[in-house]
Amino acid sequence: MTAALLNVRGVETYYGNIRALNGVDIEVHRGEIVSLIGANGAGKSTLMMTICGSPQARTGSIHFDGQEITRMPTHEIARLRIAQSPEGRRIFPRMTVLENLQMGAGLDNLKHFNEDVEKVFTLFPRLKERQAQRGGTLSGGEQQMLSISRALMARPKLLLLDEPSLGLAPLIVKGIFEAIKTLNKKEGLTVFLVEQNAFGALKLSDRGYVMVNGRVTMSGTGKDLLANPEVRSAYLEGGRH
C-alpha cells in the first residue's frame, strides 16, 4: 500500500453541498503511466484538482511519497514536486515561452534551468523556435506543449496531465502522447493522466481507471480495459481516432 507514489483512499469532494467525488480509490506507482477515463462531468478533473488541494477532500486521504497531503495548501503540494498541466493549459499568455518555462522551474532554484530547457526543447522542438514569443500567441497545440514543458521544468516526481488532447488536431495529440511515452520510458517519469480520448490514453497507459458519477467503476491494465466490451461500447466505439 505504502509503496504507491500516489495513494488516494476514499476521497469525497464537494462543491458546496454537491458531492462531486464519491469515495474514490486510486493508486499510482513509480514509473507508471496511469490514465483516468470517463464521460463529461464524471469527476475526473475534480479528482485531479483534489490531488492538488483545491478544492480539498472532505473525507478520505491522499498520500504522496509516504506523506499525507490531504490538507496541504496547493502551493506546498506543488513544492513536493507534483507538477500539473492543468485543464485549459493555463499558460501565462503575456510572458514569453522562456519565461513560462522559468516559472515552471520554481522560483528559487534556477540551477538546472539551461539544462532542463534544452531537454524540453529536444522533446518539443517547436517550442525552441518560439522561445521568445509570447505564450498567448502560440497555437493550441504549442500551448499544450508549453504547459507540459512548464510542468516538466520542476523535475516532477509525478506529472498530472488534465486532458492534454483537448481541442487539438489528432496529429498533434499523437505527438504529445508520444512525448509522454518517451518521458516515461527514458526518464522513468510517473504520469497520471485524465482523458476523454479513451482510446489514445488507454493505449498509452500501463493501467487505467474508469470513472462514472464520481466513482471508480472499473480498473485494470490499459490493454484489458481496451478489450473490455463495456468500456468499448461506452467510450471507444464511435470516438476512435
Binding site: A78, P86, F92
Partner: protein, 461 residues
C-alpha cells in the same frame, strides 16, 4: 484612395471642392447643434427676470473651428493618411536597428533631469526658476514616483487598486505628525513613513486576498475613503480639515534652507532665495524616483517580481506551480504602498502643509490614469504619461491666450478633467496598451554557454 497623392491637377481641385462642401456641411451641423447651447444663453437680471443673452460671436468661433477642421481633415489629413498607409503596405517590413537615442533613452533622460535645474536657472534666473523647478519639476516627479509605486500593484501584480492615495496620505501624515509632535527629522521619518505605509498595505491586503478585479477595486476605493475620513474626523491628532501646518523642512546634512546665519544660502555665500530649497527638493525627488525605478527593475528580475507577473496572468496556474499567492499579493501591496509612503512624506516636506483635501479619490484616479496611459508595467511609458498629464495641467494654467478667445472669465484649469478625459479616450483608441505597451522579457537563456549565436538572438526578442 491609395493613389490620391499621385493625382492630376483636376483631381486636386476636385478634392478641394469636396473638402469645401464637407466643410460647409460641418458648419451647418455645428450651427444646428450649438445655436441653442452656445448662441443663446438664459440669465437672470438684477430683478430676477429671465433674460436671453445672445452670443453670436462665440457661436461663430465654434462654427469656424468646425469648418476649418473639417476642411483640413478632408483636404490634407485624409489623403496624407491614405498615402502613408499605402506606402507602409508597399514597403516590406524592415527591421530597424534601434537608434542611439532609443538605446540609451533612460541614460539620456536621467542626464537631462540632472541638468534641468541649472539650465532653468541659467535661462530664467534664480527667482524665475522657481516656477519651472517646483510646478513642473517636483510636481511631476512626485506623480512619477506615485505612479511607479502603483505600477507594482496594478501593472505587475495585476491587482486593481483604486485607493492608492490612502498610502500617499499615510506617508504624508506620518511625516507631518511625527515631526510636529516629536520633532524628528525628515531623514529619520522618510523610511518610517515608508514602513508605516507598507504596514497599511498589508492591513489592506489581508481582507482583499480573495478578491480580484471589480470587487478588489471597490474595496480598495472604500479603503482610500476610510483613511481620508479618519484624517478628517480624528481632529485631536490630525486637526481635521484644518490640516497640519508648519511642517519642518528637510535639511541637507544638517544644513537648513533658511535665512539664518548658518543656513544654506549664507554658508554658500549666495543671496537668500527659496529657489535653492526647491532645487534641493528637486534632486531629492529625483533620487527617490531613481530608487523606486531601480527597485522595480531589480524586483522584476527576482523571483518575487516574476511571481507578481505570473499572478497577474493566472492565479490558479501560479498555485499549481508552487507559488504562495498570499505572500505574493501581500508583498505587492506592501511594496507599492511603501513607495506611496515615500512620496507622501516627500509631499509633506515640500508643501509644509497637509490636509485631507490633498488625498481625495481624484488623486487615486489621476495616478491610476497615469499608469494605464503609460502602459501598465512600463516605467518609461508611465514617466511619459506623468509628464503629459501633470505637465499638461500646469501648462493649461499658462495658456492665457485662450482668455482672448473665450473671454476673461475663462479659466482653462477648470477644463482639465474634460481634456484629460478626451486625451485618455484618444490614447486608448490609438494605443490600447498605453504609450509603451510592450513588455520586456526577463528570461533569457544564458547565452555564452551551450547555445549557438543565432539562437541567442532569438532569445533577446
Amino acid at each position: 484612395m491609395a493613389n490620391v497623392a499621385s493625382t492630376t491637377a483636376s483631381a486636386g481641385s476636385e478634392l478641394t471642392a469636396r473638402a469645401l462642401r464637407e466643410a460647409v456641411f460641418a458648419g451647418l451641423i455645428t450651427l444646428g447643434l450649438f445655436v441653442l447651447f452656445v448662441g443663446l444663453k438664459t440669465d437672470q437680471n438684477i430683478r430676477n427676470e429671465l433674460i436671453l443673452t445672445q452670443r453670436w460671436g462665440l457661436l461663430a468661433t465654434f462654427i469656424i473651428v468646425a469648418m476649418v477642421g473639417r476642411f483640413l481633415m478632408v483636404a490634407y489629413a485624409q489623403p496624407w493618411l491614405a498615402q502613408r498607409k499605402a506606402t507602409k503596405a508597399a514597403a516590406a517590413e524592415v527591421v530597424k536597428e534601434e537608434g542611439f537615442f532609443s538605446r540609451n533613452f533612460s541614460k539620456i533622460a536621467i542626464a537631462a533631469l540632472v541638468l534641468y535645474p541649472p539650465v532653468i536657472v541659467a535661462l530664467f534666473g534664480v527667482q524665475g526658476s522657481l516656477k519651472w523647478v517646483d510646478n513642473f519639476g517636483i510636481q511631476i516627479l512626485i506623480y512619477v514616483m506615485l505612479a511607479w509605486g502603483l505600477n507594482i500593484v496594478v501593472g505587475l501584480a495585476g491587482l486593481l487598486d483604486l485607493g492608492y492615495v490612502a498610502f500617499y496620505a499615510v506617508g504624508a501624515y506620518s511625516y507631518a505628525l511625527l515631526s510636529s509632535y516629536f520633532g524628528l527629522s525628515f531623514w529619520v521619518l522618510l523610511p518610517v513613513a515608508g514602513l508605516l505605509a507598507a504596514c497599511w498595505g498589508v492591513i489592506l491586503g489581508f481582507p482583499v486576498l480573495r478578491l480580484r478585479g471589480d470587487y478588489l477595486a471597490i474595496v480598495t476605493l472604500a479603503f482610500g475613503e476610510i483613511i481620508r475620513l479618519v484624517l478628517i474626523n480624528w481632529t485631536e491628532v490630525t486637526k481635521g480639515t484644518f490640516g497640519v501646518s508648519g511642517i519642518a523642512k528637510a535639511t541637507l546634512f544638517g544644513i537648513k534652507f533658511d535665512a539664518s546665519k548658518d543656513g544654506f544660502a549664507a554658508l554658500m555665500g549666495l543671496p537668500i532665495s527659496s529657489a535653492y530649497y526647491k532645487i534641493f527638493l528637486f534632486y531629492l525627488a529625483l533620487a527617490l524616483c531613481m530608487i523606486t525605478a531601480f527597485v522595480t527593475i531589480r524586483l522584476r528580475r527576482m523571483p518575487i517580481g516574476r511571481a507578481w507577473e505570473a499572478l497577474r496572468e493566472d492565479e490558479i496556474a501560479c498555485r499549481s506551480l508552487g507559488i504562495n499567492t498570499v505572500t505574493t499579493k501581500l508583498t505587492a501591496f506592501a511594496t507599492g504602498a511603501m513607495f506611496g509612503g515615500f512620496a507622501g512624506s516627500f509631499f509633506a516636506v515640500r508643501q509644509g502643509f497637509v490636509s485631507p483635501e490633498s488625498f481625495v479619490f481624484l488623486e487615486s484616479a489621476v495616478i491610476l490614469a497615469i499608469v494605464v496611459l503609460g502602459g501598465m508595467g512600463s516605467l518609461t511609458g508611465i514617466a511619459i504619461a506623468a509628464i503629459v498629464m501633470i505637465g499638461g495641467t500646469e501648462i493649461l494654467r499658462e495658456l492665457t491666450f485662450l482668455k482672448m478667445i473665450f473671454g476673461p472669465n475663462f479659466t482653462p484649469e477648470l477644463y482639465r478633467m474634460l481634456i484629460f478625459g478626451l486625451a485618455m479616450v484618444i490614447v486608448m483608441v490609438w494605443k490600447p496598451r498605453g504609450f509603451v505597451g510592450s513588455r520586456e522579457p526577463t528570461a533569457f537563456l544564458h547565452k555564452r554557454k551551450a547555445v549557438s549565436g543565432s539562437f541567442t538572438k532569438e532569445g533577446h526578442g
